[in-house]
Subunit: 137 residues, 2 copies
DNA sequence: ATAGGGCTTCCCCTTACTGGAAGGTCAAGG
DNA sequence: CCTTGACCTTCCAGTAAGGGGAAGCCCTAT
């Protein structure tokens, strides 16, 4: 398989596949003309990578997942630990975004959104914390 | 104010403040010794930037917000529009993360997490879509 | 022979900073 | 006067995960 074909079957852009080769995630063979020659298992690996990335795993996590996948003697506990860590990272991100969302939503609701300049959104970002008496030199 | 002091009062790292000067968000004066000399309004601007960034606004959005803030003739509608756009971008991100979260949480619950190699997490990432009969050459 | 599409490498660009090196400045202490 | 240490300066490089595009080779069809 050339890169174009494997791009189609894996669903990844050719650029991405070249990049994955650069960083050592896949190691396709080479034809005599210099073209990359992907075997079926390379394609499977790329599909795996696409799925793992779609679940938000970092490239380095993907590298570990690939290693576990390739290792018949793995313990599922190791995979689960990786996944749980990632899950809690996702939860943290969601929480951060929801905090932002709530603050911003509140401000948006308060803002008249008309032709006048008065704006609670700007006010909330401009508001000086009244505490810095010692730093106001 | 030197950069160290304004870093404390604005809550931003000195590195970040230098970067903001580089990209034209603040324009502090210079002392004869070459040190940046921040005025009170520079400090306010930086505080504003810190708040806007904390709400997730991009640097380019921050640039627009600063311009609106500085413009006495602004319409609050313009600020509100910016904020609403950002709010919906946040909502999109939250939705993406929640999709990931749900899939991953499901897989984690299914995984025994013991010494055995069998792992639904890996299986779900490795599963080949059975559709590609024409591409399996 | 030539056109076109696919492939190659290479380098720069992105976001929003962060780290670090090499060196100038300033105030305190001996 | 000299040193020490904290501060400041600029500049360079790196981060994550690729994307864009140039210059040029390869292959097939006409």
């Amino acid at each position: 398989m050339n890169i174009g074909e494997v791009a189609i079957v894996s669903g990844l852009p050719a650029k991405t596949i070249r990049y994955y080769e650069d960083i050592g995630l896949v190691k396709p063979l080479r034809d005599t003309n210099g073209y990359r020659a992907f075997r079926t298992r390379d394609a499977h690996k790329l599909t795996f990578l696409g799925r793992a990335r779609a679940l938000g795993f970092s490239i380095e996590d993907c590298r570990k997942l690939l290693a576990l996948w390739a290792d018949d003697t793995r313990a599922s506990a190791d995979v689960k630990a990786l996944a749980k860590d990632h899950l809690s990272a996702i939860d943290d991100k969601i929480a951060d975004l929801q905090d932002m969302r709530q603050t911003l939503d509140h401000l948006v609701r308060e803002c008249a959104g008309d032709h006048r300049p008065d704006c609670p959104i700007l006010q909330s970002m401009a508001r000086q914390t009244v505490m810095n008496s010692k730093a106001s030199g």
